[in-house]
Amino acid sequence: MYTQALDIPQQSADKGPRVVENPEYQAEFDARIDAGGYIEAKDWMPEAYRKTLIRQISQHAHSEIVGMLPEGNWITRAPTLKRKAILLAKVQDEGGHGLYLYAAAETLGVSRDELLEALHSGRAKYSSIFNYPTLTWADIGVIGWLVDGAAIMNQIPLCKCSYGPYARAMVRICKEESFHQRQGYDLLLAMMKGTEEQREMVQDAVNRWWWPSIMMFGPHDKDSVHSGQSARWGIKRISNDDLRQKFVDATVEQAKVLGVTMPDPELKWNAERGHHDFGAIDWDEFWNVVNGHGQGNVDRLAARVKAWEDGAWVREAALEHERKRAAREHQAA
């Protein structure tokens, strides 16, 4: 999902099972996980657990922050003041999500600057879904409906993940995501009641976003390298394929009400399975986008780095202002 790159095999890190640093602590840790308990920031934890969490939480945070860009693209061109206010609130929420998550990652002993540096240098990944362009206003609706919809599906189980600060951040995020999905669907409903041209715009946006949305759940379970360990640690509670199926099943009805079709001729109800079957996913395209080959990736990162660098003087001036104020206060005392 927003952390799909976790499923990419790592060259150096995570070679086989970790060394047990302290068998007694390890046993306590395992027991707590098995009992469905939480691990808190200052508790002992295996190094690999800490590293996996830093990687997952920061990837998730980066995705929220980069995710502001494709939608931000439409703020100045929203068709009405109402839609503009809604979109502003939605994009601001995504910024907030990024901040909750960076704060959760920092409890694991990594600094905000290190995390941002990893994103800006291209070392850290973010969800490839945000590398696709937003070509028309209908894309804003479809992102809310499908992309945020897929995110919700994936994020609800994370509210119960074993790392306390991450779980609490996710509870906060999930509360806000429902607004994102509903405003998107509402926007599309309005367009579907409009002109023929507007209906075509919606269908075109659905055609472009459907496959990327269901790819957000990551590789099939049999090809997913980190899932086993993450499940053992209570970080991943439901598998990629199960979540994807749940999403497809939920979305089909919503598409019908909206009056659009999914660009998949093999999508149909399978009474025997009690689920919808769907066509094969083009994983070559997926990995191509995940690995950052594409103009989208270059543009997104460039926009991030520019925002960070353009803001440097503000960050420095604010620190200097506080340093002077503290010095004055010290002198007066």
């Binding site: 907030g96 920092e106 906060r172 806000e176």
Partner: protein
Amino acid sequence: MERKEWPLWEVFVRSRNGLDHKHCGSVHAPDAKLALQVARDVYTRRQEGVSIWVVQADHIVASDPDAKPELFDPAEDKIYRHPTFYQLPDEVNHM
């Protein structure tokens, strides 16, 4: 890499009068005034609070998680501190 990071502040929000302030997360800010402002934007976009406290994170003194047994176990065997320890006659046991 040069470190020019804004310090970390812990944020506590009172969701409505009558309730305690509750820890809800943290923010980076250069000073107390901006920490409050940032906390407002990050944690109370939907009227989640009526009052905010911010505390610079390194001013918080926390108990050592490894000292949990020494700190908290001594209370374990003092069950007489709970009302349920006392079995009273049926007629008055709702006391």
